[in-house]
Amino acid sequence: MISGKMTAVIGLTLALTGAGAVVAQEAEAPPAKKSNTTVDHSNLEILQKDFASGPEVTAACLTCHTEASDQVKQSIHWTWDYEHPVTGQDLGKNNVINSYCVGVAGNEPRCTSCHVGYGWKDMNTPPPQEANAVDCLVCHDKSDTYFKVPAGAGQPFGTEVKEGAVTNTGKPANPVDLTLVAQSVGLPDRDNCGNCHFYGGGGDNVKHGDLSSVLHNPTKDIDVHMASDGLNFECSTCHVSDQHQWHGSRYNVTAKDTEGAGLPGQRRDVATCESCHGTEPHDKFSLIGFKLNSHRDKIACQTCHIPEYAKGGVPTKTMWDWSTAGKMGEDGKPMKVAKYETADGKKKPTYVTMKGDFEWGENLKPEYFWFDGQVEYANADHDIDPSGVVEVNMISGGQDDENSRIWPFKVMRGKQPYDTERNRLLYPHLFGPGSETAYWGKWDWDKAFEAGAKASGTEYSGSYDFVATEMYWPVTHMVAPAEDHVACEECHKENGRLANIAGIHIPGANPMGPGGKLGALIFGLTLLGLVIHALMRLIGRRNMKEH
């Protein structure tokens, strides 16, 4: 086994001697996808019936897939609960606060419509216990017809759909034929994952910025891996699973993978770039490749290979100011203003009575920070300092930490409520048609915070205000084709992309540092001396002529 350092030395030597021109091999497009399993579910007897509900389908699934329900129930998709192995903080959707709709507690039927189960209506209790409360279809439907009712706590649409009903993807809802869906099942594709994950935060690309409806069917320019006209990866191609557990976390990120690609069939533990591309991803026998491989030690792959996010015409929300919510229109009714227009002319709301002011952006340059993969949240257990900008989630990492690299982030900014007595962020009760306390309908923050506190098991002192917040979202999807990488000079210049990162040496980013200043002074004095010397020679010559 040759060590990484040894290969680096050999690589440098070969690079410098100009040897070993290695031609990168073009990846061939995969053949059209077809199921490679030995089962055609449409032939199974147990699926030849009219299913009245989701759990009925699950019960049928479990007759063969006996362990599936138990496995799913171990996963974060089910528990929405994650104890951080380093900080010990309780994370997961059940616990975390964010700067969008803030928290799940109190708003369950709306939020849990994206839970992989049926009927989770109260965050203070665990998800339903029944084995068939697991929703197999939301991940395994291949008919693209299975959608959950947006405020239905996980229930799918039935055989009849109300006029004007929409799915959480914003499309008109259609009746769901559970028999057809059950017979279609297969391994999850981008649509299965995307129907929830692309619409986080209440709409298309609202939350992540790098996960949008564009990824249902992206081109190479948008995402070189998932491109329908290219590699056509599913989400699970990278987010490898083992017994219904997926890898790739944004609470405990592998910010620097030193292990690289495993042998075939080996690594099932990470979704890192290195797990396929290895730890020396650039051609180490070329000088530039050698230099880029050394960048990899401190710079995440994403930093150079995702020059922009929110691509393909779907913008992401960049600012959400809750403090202005509640203003009614001239008719005294809740209103909507849509002043943001995308490059291709789509309007996006900039003020909504329910939610306050928004800003949007598309084709955005990320912001960059040291990141060791660890994230802590300003949940109800965390004191905040309202005199400054409050970080809703705190990313850690630094130059001297060997697990850290410089990562790209979407930084979500906004204002959200906090308890002025207790200096904690507040969980509002927003959603609840007919409720006496839901903000959306009663427009009374006090009631909403009181109810939210009760629902989340926290407290509310009775006085609130809004505080400026920031939230960090690592950007890792929408990887551009290799040739569209961030050019060297975008960082290697004054006020380049990494200008906000203090204490790192970037050639070209600091023209005229101490060495340059001293050098220029010496050079200037030399020139001055020469000019004076030349002038004196001229004067001397003139004097001699006169004599």
């Binding site: 350092k5 680096a8 030395v9 440098l12 410098l16 100009g18 000088l287 530039i288 230099k291 491989n293 050394s294 030690d297 130059q399 001297d400 060997e402 050019a487 060297c488 000079e489 290697h492 210049k493 004054e494 204490g503 790192i504 040496h505 050639p507 070209g508 980013a509 600091n510 023209p511 540092g513 101490p514 060495g515 340059g516 001293l518 050098g519 220029a520 010496i522 050079f523 030399t526 020139l527 020469l530 010397h533 030349a534 004196m536 020679r537 004067i539 001397g540 010559r541 001699m544």
Partner: protein
């Protein structure tokens, strides 16, 4: 003593000089691009050219060092105080009065004492600084895990550019001094033809005429 044209710059030395001129200019241009002083070529291109030019220059230097030691040419650069005062006086006073340069080139000593010291400083101080820092820069990945490498790379980068300005200052002085003789060409010609006007003692002249007739010509 008689003045003759003597070949004091053999072909290798002239090749070394002019290759170095080209490489140093290329590296100054690309180096200042990398340092952020101009953006006339893409950064990546500057990295490539700068590095490969450095490697060529290093190879050239290996040959040059070998040549200096095998031919004994290194002795030309041994510092000497003999006549130093006169040369300094000339450049700081006599030159303005139209005096003649006090130093006469010998064929075993082609540089005046001030010149020899300047070249020695360049070769022993400025060039090694830029080489060592340049190699350290290039191989940063290999020593990056060392303690306080972040501070050291900063020092390396600053010393590298300081040395670069030092070389640039040397170049302008070098060029300026060519204007101090009768004509520019008189200064440049020896680096092309190899022949320069040298004061020879009768013994030296007799030796050269007898044993190395191709090295000696009458003064043009």
């Amino acid at each position: 003593m008689s003045e003759r044209m003597v070949k004091i710059y053999p072909p290798f030395e002239r090749f070394w000089h002019w290759s170095q001129v080209i490489l140093v200019l290329v590296m100054t241009f690309t180096g200042f691009r990398l340092y952020g002083l101009h953006e006339w070529i893409p950064y990546q291109q500057a990295v490539l050219v700068h590095t490969y030019a450095a490697l060529l220059l290093m190879v050239l230097w290996i040959f040059a060092i070998f040549w200096h030691f095998t031919t004994g040419t290194w002795k030309h650069y041994v510092p000497s105080a003999d006549g130093l005062g006169q040369v300094i006086r000339f450049y700081s006073y006599g030159i303005f009065k139209g005096e003649k340069h006090p130093y006469r080139k010998a064929y075993w000593r082609k540089h005046n004492p001030l010149q020899a010291m300047a070249y020695l400083a360049l070769k022993l101080l400025i060039f090694p600084t830029i080489w060592i820092t340049g190699i350290a820069y290039l191989t940063y990945r290999l020593w990056e895990p060392a303690a306080s490498s972040g501070l050291w790379i900063e020092i390396v980068g600053n010393l590298h550019v300081l040395a670069a300005f030092g070389i640039l200052s040397f170049i302008v002085m070098h060029l300026y001094l060519m204007t101090t003789g009768h004509s520019l060409w008189e200064h440049i010609r020896p680096m092309f033809t190899g022949y320069d006007e040298i004061d020879l003692s009768p013994q030296e002249e007799a030796y050269l005429e007898a044993d190395e007739p191709s090295r000696i010509k009458p003064v043009a």
